[in-house]
Symmetry: C2
């Protein structure tokens, strides 16, 4: 109905960055990686987007048509929350949970599936932990007639049958990882037949599967430049919606794991910051996995096993295994290179919270606004409440925007644990940091 609100181009922040990130390196040679080296697992157009400095990139018509299945997503004012907090601030949220996949992830999976099909690819592989990304890629592959193989961390495969069934609805093949399908999986199973898997192992399996099959590519749900690019539709749409209201946010807040949700919401506003506008942009992360607030800017592997190109990013070290906090989507050792650059250059802020205070904020939000937030998104809720409370102290009437990246319909066991007092707030220690950084590759 209001589909003319959907932006027709993505915003590429690489065109405007004051300082560009250092280039990704080939881990074998230590030299900047060449496009053709990435072509084993990615199609040409995505590699171009990864390296492009063109400001606006057209969204293909077929992708736009699919975005229209659920976009524009709502931009809503949280009036009841404002009243409850008795804050003079205006709180807005951009809600990505109305997507069929339940989160923002479908914005990029559709684009990636489109370009891969265009390149003649028949199948995509990926890894998934809790299942958010696997679901989004399953739907996208189905829409574009691609086969989809999802390596799902075995413990999640066993404990989260609903997510697995959700992917199967869309015809994806869901394989508990480690598996016998790959050399990487077989090696691990030979050492430990009962291994319950990890995201790192699942990445290794998915990449190997793609690299060893000519008609198959690999697909990643965050971190890389082209993934962040596709997500900018969130912020562009929000800007358009604010314009209709005659408003512009003073504060923009997104939760941060690999960086795609945060970037998607904030980059289009940062475009205005580069042009002189004042906007406070905050990335929110778990205190138990404080990549930006405690990590170090360095070259590191994107995966745990150490197979990927080296990326310049804030990292806790690729060997760091974040504790089993319930916001699984934020359990990542690194931050996207583009986000890392912005943070290093002081253009964005970062803030870390413990999970109990995050769940408390999520419950408050649900009780006031109805929607049950995903635990990841709840980090942004918490930060927005804190910003609104600052306004209460100072009397400022700021406009605050936060990203509600997904619903929590598949996270109710986490809420149950929260109510039962079973959630632990894990302190990230200096010792953990030193251990993690010890494994950084020499460059």
């Amino acid at each position: 109905m209001s589909q003319n609100l959907i932006p027709r181009k993505w915003y590429n922040i690489q065109a405007d960055l004051p300082k560009r990130p250092a280039p990704p390196l080939n881990p074998a040679t230590g030299k900047p990686i060449k496009p053709e080296e990435l072509a084993v697992i990615f199609p040409e157009t995505l590699i171009e987007q990864e390296m492009s400095t063109q400001r606006w990139i057209d969204i293909p018509e077929e992708v736009l048509n699919l975005y229209a299945l659920w976009r524009p997503t709502p931009l809503r004012r949280a009036r009841r929350l404002e009243q409850f907090l008795e804050t003079p601030a205006k709180i807005f949220y951009k809600y990505e949970g109305t997507s069929p996949a339940g989160s923002h992830k479908l914005n990029t999976s559709l684009a990636q599936a489109f370009y891969n099909r265009q390149a003649g690819i028949k199948r995509l592989t990926t890894e998934t932990g809790a299942g958010q990304w696997g679901t989004a890629l399953s739907i996208a592959c189905r829409f574009f007639g691609l086969d989809c193989t999802v390596y799902m961390v075995k413990i999640s495969y066993q404990q989260k049958p609903y997510r697995r069934s959700f992917m199967q609805v869309y015809g994806a093949e869901v394989i508990p990882s480690p598996s016998n399908r790959t050399e990487a999986g077989r090696k691990i199973l030979a050492q430990d037949p009962d291994c319950l898997g990890s995201l790192g192992i699942a990445i290794s399996e998915a990449v190997e599967d793609a690299a060893t099959h000519r008609d198959t590519n690999y697909s990643l749900g965050s971190v890389l430049n082209h993934v962040l690019l596709h997500q900018t539709i969130i912020g562009l749409e929000a800007k358009e919606q604010f314009k209709q209201e005659g408003l512009y946010p003073d504060v923009v807040i997104g939760c941060h794991g690999g960086g795609s949700n945060f970037a998607g919401l904030s980059f289009p506003f940062l475009m205005d910051v580069f042009a002189g506008k004042k906007v406070k942009v905050i990335a929110v992360e778990p205190a138990a996995c404080p990549t930006l607030t405690k990590g170090k800017l360095a070259y590191d592997y994107g995966d745990t096993v150490g197979l990927t190109p080296l990326l310049e990013m804030y990292t806790l070290g690729h060997s760091f295994v974040p504790p089993g906090i319930h916001a699984g989507g934020l359990r990542y050792h690194g931050a996207a290179p583009l986000v890392s650059r912005l943070y290093a250059d002081g253009l964005i802020k970062a803030q870390a919270y413990h999970q109990n205070e995050v769940f408390a904020a999520a419950v408050l939000f649900a009780q006031q606004e109805g929607i049950l937030p995903a635990p990841e998104s709840a980090h942004a809720v918490k930060a927005a409440i804190d910003e609104a409370m600052k306004c209460k102290e100072t009397g400022e009437t700021k406009t605050i925007l936060f990203g509600l990246s997904g619903h929590g319909h598949f996270d109710l066991s986490a809420y149950e644990d929260y109510f039962a007092g079973k959630l632990q707030d894990v302190e990230y220690t200096q010792e953990m940091l030193e251990q993690g950084l010890a494994c950084l590759p020499k460059v």
Copy 2:
């Protein structure tokens, strides 16, 4: 944003019915029930609405403001489904799953909570099976500062902890039924301490709890006239959205359990039918619980135990226990009196489907349009596909509208069973009908 699309009045079909339903009877006296007899468990305004013949009823401002949290809900064209079916028909669906409760149920729970608070009531009780209605009432009570007590069928309480946690997020007290909280519950537990409960028992407990506490009322999620009234916002909104597209549906399809979803979508279109417009309106039900297609129009109790007023409705007999099909929301022995009247007078059609063909339709819909339907809603999907396939045969370019009343995020175990071939298609037999009808009260 497009909130000016939200209707400001509900449509009361009682103003326009060619023939009104017979009045509800007091089971003790056999005489038409008086408003004051209902006042023990319902507030005055809802009793007025139950009996009103006024065509338009204003939606209170406070309810409208809360509707605006998620309304207008999307009216979408299922273009990919049309293309897949190669049908000349246009298929539209009205999607109520974007509500915080995940279904249409919140449309009436908000109104009921509002009127009860207005009447000075402090607490609402209700029953819930799978949890859809309990969730919707929990949210509504939270919004209006009422306490909420949900008697949840014990087997569901044990097997569906996620739904239970969902209600607890909104502060509802969720009690496994049968419980020790009521005389009804205690009696049953005395006979059978391991009783796993039933919807009938849970209703008895909720009604008794309300009737024995002065500050407490009871709230029902379907069947009654005022509940159907509140749901008409769905169809009114859809009409407005069609108008914007310059279209009007030839066929309107809703799944049918107690009748509130079906009525909410279809009554505003039936208003035009009364004025001479031609619209085919279809209520879709499970073949295993075929209230309209196989039941008998008679006075019967609304609950299984036999406590409620006698309602004139299509019924399979209040003692009929529908088999454990996965569309729990459609497992009800009776049809709303208003829907029953329309069906008896030939103004609407009814159609029954078995669950395996319904799940097949749901999977096809999800694969084409992305959204995972609730098993209840999937009945409407199946009927819409069948209507579209008829158009393919005849070449007619009909416009088909169906109601997608909720998402299936809490029904993935049912999808899992479907994929595993574990779903049974139960035939409803003449013997079942005779047994059920044998218990009909003499009037």
